[in-house]
């Protein structure tokens, strides 16, 4: 019960902090002081208190799109286990439910974008759905590898498997899968090198351009959902790259927190040292992720 409460609290509260960490790291690399770590929380509060401006073109799809997306992503967060603890909801096939909830989120983000009738937002939506066609199979091959190693079809068992110790031959596939999953995480959360959250030109954005016309509380919901998605995919990745546990509950939770913040810092470092890829080169990165997961799978068959 305690752990479920903790899961829910972390899921709802922690995500914006990751954005703060990323921005801080980027500022350090640029030689600046940067915004305070908790700045994203202030931003969210400010946005929630603001009024809304809607485009005359839009319908209810525009207003409810971000809200449905948020609901889907939070529900996905309830299925994904954190650290060594069980997720609040676990059932056979929850991995597919998880992946398809993210698909539902994508469906409504992009339809809401098209509702404005703006060419910019159409462009962003087109890129989002096209790149997802490569990240989705990569994610599923990664899940296949985990299922093969653990022999289970629930997300919790698949991800917790590595902690109880696996045969040495699982190491190489897991490294490949970790590489693939990291690329999937960057693409799905629209970070550099796939997308630049700070770019100022509408023509070159993916995620930011889709939400140009959302304002006030709705924009707050979108920012929060993006952070949440980063957090959830991060928890998945942490299971593969850092399957450590101590046995003490409070120590494990703190370990999870520290690992999560470190992951955010790594994302910040990647953003600082890399440039955004040309839009036509993004599929190469995603295909590389797909192949990495695929070879991981091939290594397991033998």
């Amino acid at each position: 019960m305690m752990h479920i409460l903790m899961h829910g609290l972390l899921l709802l509260i922690m995500p914006p902090l990751l954005l703060g960490v990323i921005n801080k790291v980027k500022a350090w690399f640029g030689g600046r002081v940067g915004p305070p770590l908790l700045q994203p929380y202030s931003d969210l509060v400010k946005l929630m208190r603001k009024g809304m401006v809607l485009s005359e073109t839009t319908t209810w799809v525009f207003r409810f799109g971000p809200v449905i997306t948020l609901a889907a992503v939070i529900l996905a967060g309830l299925v994904a286990p954190m650290g060594r603890f069980a997720a609040p909801v676990t059932f056979t096939g929850d991995l597919i439910f998880f992946a398809y909830l993210l698909g539902l989120a994508r469906f409504f983000t992009t339809t809401a974008a098209l509702d404005t009738g703006s060419p910019f937002e159409g462009m962003g939506a087109a890129r989002e759905v096209a790149f997802a066609c490569l990240t989705e199979p990569a994610l599923f091959i990664a899940l296949l590898v985990l299922a093969k190693i653990s022999g289970s079809l629930t997300l919790a068992d698949m991800l917790h498997g590595p902690m109880s110790g696996f045969p040495a031959q699982a190491a190489a596939p897991l490294i490949l899968v970790a590489i693939g999953l990291f690329a999937v995480l960057l693409a799905e959360t629209c970070r550099i090198p796939v997308d630049d959250p700070n770019t100022h030109l509408e023509l070159t954005m993916i995620h930011e351009v889709m939400v140009l016309d959302h304002s006030g509380p709705l924009f707050g919901v979108i920012l929060y959902t993006a952070a949440l998605k980063l957090f959830i995919l991060g928890t998945l990745l942490l299971h593969v790259i850092a399957p450590f546990q101590t046995g003490l509950a409070w120590l494990d939770w703190s370990l999870f927190l520290v690992q999560m913040l470190l992951l955010a810092a790594v994302v910040g470092v990647v953003e600082s040292v890399m440039a955004r890829l040309q839009m036509r080169h993004v599929p190469y990165l995603l295909v590389a992720a797909l192949l990495s997961c695929g070879f991981g799978f091939l290594l397991l068959i033998g």
Binding site: T59, A71, F91, F97, L101, T111, E121, A125, A130, C133
Partner: protein
């Protein structure tokens, strides 16, 4: 009881269009009578099917048919399962035509539509009931030929006649294959009765022959990938309720044939399941990729049928693999996914086609890039299309997710087998994931371009909402999608009943509910809906208070609706990604000189099989055959001469040529 009800329903359906034929060309009474008969038939048929699904025993009735031996007719749970979409769509489509194809506005072809609609429903019902090859073929042909007349309803249009012709050729090809199949069956088993073959009753060669003939004949009807060539054109040019029926139900008769027939054959080799799985994966992937390249709303939906048939076949392939490997849990999961997707696809695809029909009626165009902004003028159609779109993408909380989940879990389970053989099937899972992502891309494109944004052309601006007679069938179908999605636990016993006769004897312990936690999935879907609803309510008030301004356009002074992103541009990244198979043709604008005149460009994606293979090959064959024309001069004297030559040639066989040859080559 069940059988009696269904037979009455079949007769009602078959006769539903008849009274109209004797009434005036523009009298609406014929159509009303047809709808009444069809609706009562549908209700009776659905009641019978429900009885058939619940009752345990399988009763077979013998009808004497002197020429062909006795004809067997019976209803078991599998027949009843397929009868549900037949009668549901039969009744709903007939109701829809009251608003969509009213007799007084279509005096030239309305009566034809009603007559063959009823016949097609009756033909399918007969086909599903038949337990004997001849009765099966009778139902099959009634269905196939009625479908031809329905596809070519608007036979004053050249394109409609052409696709009707292609359909007729392909369906006859399929029937020919079935003739071969049943002749071989008769030769191998000694009877036309379709009863399970005992193990090792026939040799592997005959079994393989039966399998490939069945795959070819039923695959043609189902629209499996290389054999789908007739499908997009036929579905795009038929009236919308006919497209809905063809796509939602008639294709499923091919699936029914495959399921029914393949499970009669004993000890399938593993290669069969593997082949079906691969064909399913190819159909799924290429179906959705070709759909993304289309500009015509109904043609796009038609390609999605190819995709969904692919998913259905993946389930079936998995079940066949399970039979070869003696893994009952694969059979249960694969077959349950296959059967449930048959239902689901018939609900959401019919819903989408009916919505497309209401768009076509309101705007008089199927061209996606001429539409736009319809959600404001047609809120019902837009909302219902959204339900269909979410369902067909296989997203929770609707029904498409449930059946895809079953197939996924089946595919994931093959991973537990050591060695490379079992793991090969598991590659279907990422393929299915890619199909899902591409389907999302495609339906975001369609929904965005047709219903959102601002109208791109004049017609959509005057669009009006569909009448109640058209909305009611769409509402019923959407409710079915929601029900199966939110309460999947309800269909688990139905699936168990439908599969009961197909599982190997002695392996009963597996039920769908024991393998998949459908109740949990349903609870999660409900939670999703409730959560999203609460959040949406919280934001409704703030949205109402919002200020309304124009969309952000970078400060441009004169934005027009033509500056919106078109469906073609939306799809462009994916079309380029798959250019190796789509081969899009772009006709670029010719811009010349310092003051170029107005120019236009257009692009299209032709069908892989029909336009790229069959049509060129056909033209080539026609060219070779041209020389035969020299014989056909139209002069009676020449023809009499040909007869004389033929007779002389035949007489020449009487010459003792063997003896001559043996003497010539004697040592």
């Amino acid at each position: 009881m069940a059988l009696t009800l269904i037979l009455i329903a079949t007769l009602l359906a078959a006769g539903s269009g008849l009274p109209g034929v004797f009434l005036g060309r523009s009298s609406r009474w014929g159509q009303r009578v047809a709808v009444g008969l069809m609706a009562s038939g549908a209700l009776a048929g659905l009641a019978g099917a429900c009885l058939g699904l619940t009752s345990a025993q399988d009763r077979i009735v013998v009808f004497p048919w002197p020429a062909m031996g006795d004809s067997l007719i019976g209803v078991d749970a599998l027949s009843a399962f397929f009868l549900v979409p037949i009668f549901l769509m039969g009744g709903l489509g007939s109701l829809y035509s009251l608003g969509y194809w009213p007799q007084d506005q279509h005096p030239e072809n309305g009566r034809k539509l009603q007559l063959f609609w009823g016949l097609m429903v009756a033909g399918m019902a007969l086909l599903v009931l038949a337990r004997q090859a001849m009765a099966f073929l009778l139902g099959w042909e009634v269905m196939a030929l009625s479908a031809f007349f329905l596809v070519s309803t608007e036979d004053h249009r050249e394109e409609c006649r052409q696709v009707g012709w292609v359909y007729l050729v392909s369906t006859h090809l399929g029937t020919l294959t079935l003739f071969g199949l049943f002749s071989l069956w008769r030769w191998a088993t000694g009877s036309y009765a379709l009863l399970p073959l005992a193990s090792e009753a026939v040799g592997l060669g005959v079994l393989n022959g039966l399998f490939f003939l069945a795959l070819l004949g039923f695959g043609l009807k189902a629209g499996m990938m290389p054999l789908h060539f007739w499908l997009p054109g036929a579905h795009a040019n038929a009236p919308s309720q006919v497209s809905a029926m063809l796509s939602g139900v008639v294709l499923k008769m091919g699936v029914y044939g495959l399921v029914r027939f393949l499970f009669l054959l004993p000890d399938p080799p593993g290669a069969w399941g593997g082949l079906i799985l691969v064909l399913g994966a190819i159909s799924g992937l290429l179906g959705v990729v070709f759909a993304i390249g289309q500009h015509d709303l109904k043609r796009l939906l038609a390609y999605h049928s190819v995709e969904n048939i692919g998913i259905i076949l993946m389930g079936l392939g998995l079940a066949m693999l399970g039979r070869s490997a003696h893994r009952p849990e694969w059979i249960v999961l694969g077959l349950a996914g296959c059967l449930l997707h048959v239902w689901n696809h018939s609900f959401f695809k019919s819903l989408l086609f009916l919505c497309a029909g209401s768009v076509v009626q309101a705007t008089h165009t199927q061209e996606i890039d001429r539409l736009g902004g319809l959600a404001k003028r047609m809120p019902w159609t837009a909302g219902l299309f959204l339900v269909g779109a979410v369902a067909i993408c296989g997203l929770p909380p609707l029904n498409g997710f449930v059946s895809e989940l079953l197939v996924y879990l089946g595919l994931f389970r093959t991973i537990t087998v050591p060695g490379a053989g079992g793991s090969a099937a598991v590659i279907g899972a990422p393929v299915l994931a890619m199909i899902g992502a591409l389907a999302v891309a495609c339906f975001v494109k369609v929904y965005g371009a047709v219903f959102l944004g601002t109208p791109r052309d004049h017609d959509p601006a005057q669009a009006h909402e569909a009448p109640l007679s058209m909305r009611a069938p769409m509402l019923v179908l959407a409710a079915c999608c929601a029900l199966i999605g939110l309460a999947p636990g309800l269909v688990a016993p139905v699936l168990d009943r439908a599969m009961a006769g197909l599982l190997p004897p002695g392996s009963a312990p597996f039920s769908v509910a024991s393998l998949v936690p459908l109740d949990t999935v349903g609870a999660m879907s409900l939670a999703l809906v409730a959560f999203a609803g609460v959040l949406a309510l919280a934001f409704t008030a703030r949205g109402r208070a919002a200020r309304r301004v124009g969309t952000w356009d970078c400060g441009y002074a004169l934005p027009t609706s033509r500056m919106q992103y078109t469906a073609a541009s939306f799809a462009q990244i994916i079309v380029t990604m798959f250019a190796w198979v789509l081969r899009p043709r772009v006709h670029p604008p010719g811009i010349e000189g310092p003051f170029p005149r107005a120019a236009g460009m257009h692009s299209h994606v032709d069908d892989l099989v029909l336009d790229r293979v069959l049509a060129p090959v056909g033209r080539c064959v026609a060219r070779w055959c041209d020389w035969i024309h020299q014989l056909q001069q139209g002069l009676t004297q020449h023809y009499v001469l040909y007869i004389l030559i033929a007779v002389v040639l035949m007489l020449s066989t009487l010459l003792p040529i063997d003896g001559f040859l043996s003497r010539l080559f004697a040592r």
